[in-house]
Amino acid sequence: MTEKADTEVGNEVVEQVAHLARIQIDSDSVSNYASEMSGVLQLAAQMDQVDTSSVEPMAHPTHAVQRLREDVVTESNRRDAFQKIAPSVENGYYLVPPVIE
């Protein structure tokens, strides 16, 4: 597969990506985002100057691996403290608009 990609982002791509990221974008700012995103992708395209086909991607700067621990409870239950800062709760549940009509 080629490592090249489009660096020109159109309005419909911005709208699709904004939907994936769950961010509402005003229709009059879509083209601004499109040109700014294209600018960043053009900057990123400079990476294509270098052939990296035989380079391993970095996983961790000092090659650390995921630490494992005993499967024991380490945290206490602090549901009340955590729910106190939520926008809307009831009887220990987080409230959101109805999902099923």
């Binding site: 990506v17 900057l43 990476m47 270098v50 990296t52 970095m58 926008p87």
Partner: protein
């Protein structure tokens, strides 16, 4: 009193020259007087601070000194969670967020006796190089209030530079400690990735973020790092390795130390006045016994392109947690769940944060992952290999911290890409996970300039040693805004 270093404040407290209450009140008065023009603090915790200072004085009087920073005032960047004290991360999203727990760094500094005077302003979610991206307004540079303090730890840098507080915590993802330190004439250290716990430090780009100290001297940074560093089982990327004593080695001689000068940092692109200040600093370090050699970091120019894929990609994942459900901003009258997510995030995030989330979401989406994120991670390997090769023959790498001194407020807000280039010298250390320090090395047009030293992994003690020895024979770090 505000021109003292932490070290001399410590002996002042020990000798009874002043109390912790007097010391903290002095700085709080300075904050209250100057914050209107600098906007360096988002929150001032006067009541808690004075109560803690009183407790520190009382325990000292009864012969009980809790730690190396007993009774000394500091401030935290508003990215570190403080239990019971609002933590905004510079965002409307967290405008009313009061964390139910403390970051490890906050716990550790508090356990060492430090007293937090407040929370410092910052670019929203640490995304920015000028502190103009804060929901709570731009921070101003104490050397010239028409200019930016740098970012993202701009509030911390302006606060220490203006001597509103002797030391602060900061975080550095692409230069966010070192660049504002340079712009405000202070010393700032980004430790090795994994050296300081990220627990309770609101995440931006998890493979790059690292907390560190910002103070008026390398010695004070060493005192802070002594408390901040160390393994933390609550951070899965924390390194299981004993910390060094960063203070005891400050006095070591620089005789025989070898420092590399990357030709890519001293090419035609470097501002001539900054180049000449660096030459003077090199001459001082030579007198101290350091030897200089030219080195080649051939993939440095790919750092900014790789960073502006990796950082947005990781930010788009990390900031997915802000959904208006469990904490943070929620829009009014959501008509359904999708509307709740979309409008809460649209209202809660500022322009730069949204831009990066969109770029990151795009770069990680199906079909583009290999071309962008994977490619950028491969470039990181190349940049890291360049450094490893260099460190086979040198102990440190020296260069500028920034391409220019502090620029004017509003000067670069119109062009995100131009803003991104501010971090051209600082980003490589983040991509490789290496420690770096910025040290004041002169002035251009009345504005401070920083020199950057990058060390090999876990060489924070030696970096601080070189910076301290340099500061013993120069006085740039002692200069304060007129």
């Amino acid at each position: 009193m505000h021109t003292l270093t932490l070290a001399s404040m410590r002996s002042g407290l020990e000798n009874g020259e002043f109390s912790s209450v007097e010391l903290c009140q002095h700085f709080i008065d300075r904050i209250k007087k100057q914050n209107e023009s600098l906007n360096a603090f988002v929150s001032i915790t006067e009541e808690q601070a004075i109560a803690a200072a009183r407790a520190a004085d009382e325990s000292r009087a009864s012969g009980n000194v809790t730690g190396a920073l007993h009774g000394l005032p500091i401030a935290h960047k508003d990215i570190f969670c403080t239990e019971g004290v609002r933590t905004t991360c510079g965002s409307r999203m967290l405008e009313a967020f009061v964390p139910p727990y403390n970051a490890t760094v906050v716990e550790k500094l508090s356990a060492a006796g430090a007293i937090c005077l407040g929370k410092t302003n910052m670019d929203e979610f640490a995304m920015g190089s000028s502190n103009e991206n804060s929901y709570f307004g731009a921070v101003r540079n104490p050397w010239d209030t028409d200019r930016v303090p740098g970012g993202s730890s701009g509030g911390s840098a302006a606060a220490v530079g203006g001597r509103l507080v002797p030391a602060c915590t900061g975080t550095d993802t692409g230069g966010s400690i070192r660049q504002p330190a340079a712009f405000c004439g202070i010393t700032g250290l980004k430790p090795t990735y994994g050296r300081v716990s990220r627990y309770g430090m609101i995440a931006f780009a998890s493979s790059l973020d690292q907390g560190g100290p910002m103070a008026t001297s390398a010695e004070d940074c060493a005192w802070l790092l002594n408390e901040m560093a160390g393994f933390d089982e609550r951070d899965s990327t924390s390194i299981e390795r004993d910390k060094d004593d960063y203070v005891s080695t400050l006095v070591n001689s620089l005789d025989g130390v070898t420092i590399g000068l990357p030709k890519q940092y001293f090419d035609a692109g470097l501002d001539a006045s900054i180049a000449s200040l660096l030459q003077q600093a090199i001459a001082e370090l030579e007198k101290l016994g350091a030897k200089f050699v030219d080195i080649d970091l051939e993939n440095q120019h790919l750092s900014v392109p790789a960073y502006y894929i990796v950082a947005p990609a990781e930010c788009s994942s990390n900031l997915a947690r802000f959904d208006g459900v469990r904490y943070g901003h929620r829009c009014e009258d959501p008509k359904d769940l999708e509307d709740l997510y979309k409008r809460s995030r649209a209202e809660g995030f500022g322009r730069e944060v949204k831009r990066r989330i969109l770029v990151g979401t795009y770069a990680l989406s199906a079909g583009y992952y290999d071309a962008y994120y994977l490619k950028a991670q491969k470039i990181r390997s190349l940049i890291s290999q360049d450094f490893s090769q260099a460190f086979e023959s040198v102990d440190f790498i020296l260069g500028p911290t920034t391409p220019s001194p502090a620029f004017k407020v509003g000067e670069k807000t119109g062009d995100p890409l131009e803003m991104y280039l501010n971090d051209i010298y600082t980003i490589p250390a983040n991509l490789a996970g290496l420690p770096g320090i910025s040290v004041p090395c002169g002035e251009v047009g009345g504005l401070p300039v920083g020199m950057q030293l990058v060390g090999n992994y876990f060489e924070e003690a030696r970096l601080l040693n070189v910076a301290h020895q340099y500061q013993m024979v120069t006085d740039w770090h002692t200069r304060i805004p007129g």
